[in-house]
């Protein structure tokens, strides 16, 4: 047992037989292994431009997130403003209007338009404002045309019409002393007008009321003298009785106050606040009826030119490759990353005319290198050819930030065809180092996960560009599809490496 101890607890500087493999050759192999697995710090120092490029690429998803947040904020404020304006309008106008409509009284205050003749120049179809009417169609009604048509058919009205000056801009009634005089005579001679005279109306409103009465009297004389069928001022519909006309007008009063034309039939000193309120109401969709509450009017979106037709959401993509499926879930850091395909990306798009769509996306993505060889070396250990060791370094996959620009053309309601271009910034890579001894087969096989700062990254380009045609199918807010990715530039720096791969994607539209 004593002799046995001499073979253990050896010293590094003891007398040992000459090694069968020279130290130089062994160190060459050792150095190759060190360069692969433990690159030197000095050599691995990042280039001066890399940090700025990295920051630039990191900024892309942040910019997209910022745009989305701005859009959400703007959209929220816009809806809130419209909702508030609508509520304010309903608070200001609705009670008085409804009260008067229910009581059957005429609004004599002049604050709210209630003259029937002012409405009567509109055809029934317009004044009732059935659903589907828009602002433009109503605004297209030329009031002068209506008045002019009456001029040609109502000779007895000539005197009064001449007293009412209709401005080119609308139905603004201007003060006319002669008109006022004529109307005062009519008002005082007419029964039941005392109340109006007692009402402290403004002079302008007196003129308006006088004009209204005058206009009604003209209609009566026209209907009694020429025909039993009473023509509406616009001549678009016929009514057998003036009362029917009045009833219809009353029935549609809930919509009258929204009429853009009506905004112009007002005294010169129109209430500025009310005027502003009515102007705001121009944006309201006129799909209302008599029973519609003003507070429940469907609000048309005031579309901002910057964010019009913009959409955004998240997307997931998974690569399909025919090779290296053994390492499908192995991350570029050398560890298992089953969750990687589930990391969502962001996209933002803008709809174009002709069913087109421009889409920008950003995500953390990975591409398979299909085991393309990046480097190889050979070490001769001894004179015998049997002792030659070949080491190779192959690319399995790369990962990094990906940004893409894509154009989608909707073929049908659900199917769309897309063509896009990607730029992939390569930040990590998974390599495979294989050492093969001649005649003995594989003696070492290892996976190496490297960062962009590692020495081995010298074999890879910092980024590469690819194009991808794809086909998508929409399911509501979801779109699923597939694409084929064709790299335009090489992944590797010195070697040709343009592996083609497939991609399955799922896109979710948030807005």
């Amino acid at each position: 047992m004593k002799d046995k101890k001499k073979h253990i607890n050896q010293k590094p500087d003891g007398k040992y037989p000459e090694p069968g493999v020279p130290a130089d050759g062994a160190w060459a192999d050792m150095k190759a292994m060190l360069d692969l697995q433990m690159p030197e710090t000095e050599q691995a120092a990042p280039e001066g431009t890399k940090p700025s490029v990295l920051k630039l690429w990191m900024a892309i998803p942040l910019i997209i997130i910022g745009i989305m947040l701005c859009f959400l904020y703007f959209n929220k404020n816009e809806k809130a403003n419209l909702s508030r304006e609508t509520k304010e309008t309903s608070k200001q106008t609705r009670p008085s209007l409804i009260d008067k409509r229910e009581s059957g009284k005429t609004d004599l205050s002049g604050k709210y338009p209630s003259n029937r003749s002012a409405l009567s120049h509109l055809p029934n179809s317009e004044s009732s404002m059935g659903s589907g009417k828009n602002v433009d169609s109503i605004l297209s009604i030329n009031p002068e045309k209506f008045i002019g048509s009456k001029k040609t058919s109502m000779s007895s009205r000539a005197e009064n019409v001449s007293n009412i000056e209709i401005s080119k801009n609308g139905y603004e009634l201007k003060r006319n002393s002669k008109l006022k005089k004529n109307f005062k005579e009519r008002i005082t001679s007419s029964p039941g007008r005392a109340q109006r005279n007692e009402n402290p109306l403004s002079e302008n409103h007196d003129n308006l009321q006088a004009g209204i009465q005058n206009y009604n009297s003209e209609k009566k004389s026209f209907s009694s003298g020429s025909t039993n069928r009473k023509l509406s001022p616009a001549g678009f519909s016929t009514l057998s009785d003036n009362n029917i006309t009045v009833q219809k007008i009353e029935a549609s009063r809930s919509a009258i106050f929204l009429s853009p034309n009506y905004l112009h039939i007002r005294p010169v000193h129109w209430n500025n606040n009310l005027n502003a309120t009515f102007i705001k109401l121009k944006i309201i969709d006129f799909g209302l009826n008599k029973t519609t509450s003003p507070s429940n009017f469907p609000v048309a979106r005031k579309e901002n030119s910057l964010f019009r037709n913009f959409h955004f959401g998240m997307h997931w993509s998974a690569l399909v490759t025919g090779k290296e499926n053994d390492h499908y879930f192995t991350g570029a850091n050398g560890k298992q990353q089953v969750y990687f395909p589930f990391i969502p990306g962001l996209w933002i798009s803008k709809s174009l005319k002709n069913n087109g769509e421009i889409l920008i996306k950003a995500s953390i993505n990975q591409y398979f290198g299909n085991n393309n060889r990046l480097d190889s070396s050979s070490i001769q250990l001894q004179d015998s050819a049997r002792n030659r060791i070949n080491t190779s370094l192959n690319l399995i996959k790369v990962s990094g930030i990906n940004a893409g620009l894509q154009y989608n053309q909707h073929l049908t309601k659900r199917w769309s065809l897309g063509l896009g271009a990607n730029v992939q910034y390569q930040q990590r890579a998974l390599l495979q180092s294989t050492t093969i001894r001649t005649g003995s087969g594989v003696i070492a096989d290892s996976l190496i996960g490297i960062k962009g700062t590692a020495n081995q990254f010298k074999y890879l380009n910092p980024y590469f560009i690819s194009v991808y045609p794809g086909l998508g199918y929409s399911l509501g807010d979801l779109k699923i599809g597939a694409a084929a990715i064709f790299p335009l530039t090489n992944m590797a720096r010195d070697k040709k490496s343009k592996p083609v791969s497939g991609q399955i994607f799922l896109r979710w539209k948030i807005k």
Binding site: K4, N9, G14, P19, A26, M30, E40, L381, I389
Partner: protein, 177 residues
């Protein structure tokens, strides 16, 4: 000692020159260690380099209060050899059931030099060589060999018996010369 300490610090910084100095300094002893387990030079180099790679990767974990740096490196490289041996499972396994207590007291190597030892070991099959080496040259117990090699104690005894048989003939021929 100071020079070795500087080399270790350089290895911690992943300095290639320091790693090379350390490698060259320990290479004869570690090659000799690996040669106990493997007859083939390539196997020796693979085991040595794999072990040294572990040393370079984990050199920051070395604690000088627990022992010398060479012993730590020696142990790491030896474990690397055992790892390779474990991975090479023999096609057939045999188990020796006889009582070998008396037999194990005999050291076939005695006071032989390294050259004679390696000549003797080369006559042994790989697994028998490894078991014999661990038992007689590395002072492992049968239970430790059982654990390290992943084979049953009866099998360890069988390999030891086999090694003695063969080495007796070899050493006897050498002594006759």
């Amino acid at each position: 000692m100071e020079q070795l300490q500087e080399t270790i610090e350089g290895c911690k910084r992943n300095d290639r020159k320091s790693q090379k100095d350390l490698y060259y300094q320990f290479y004869p002893a570690l090659f000799n260690l690996c040669k106990k387990f493997f007859a083939d030079d390539h196997d020796i180099q693979t085991a040595l380099n794999n072990g040294m790679m572990k040393v370079f990767k984990n050199i920051s974990q070395f604690d000088s209060s627990k022992g010398s740096f060479f012993n730590w490196t020696y142990t790491v490289v030896r474990n690397s050899c055992l790892t390779i041996l474990r991975d090479r499972k023999p096609d057939t396994t045999v188990e020796f059931t006889e009582n070998l207590v008396e037999e194990t007291l005999y050291d076939p190597f005695g006071s032989s030099g390294w050259t004679d030892i390696f000549i003797s070991l080369d006559k042994l099959p790989p697994v028998t060589r490894a078991v014999c080496c661990l038992f007689y040259l590395e002072d492992f117990s049968i239970k430790e060999i059982e654990q390290e090699m992943g084979i049953k104690s009866g099998t360890v005894k069988w390999h030891l018996n086999e090694s003695r048989k063969r080495l007796k003939d070899v050493l006897a021929k050498n002594n006759d010369r």
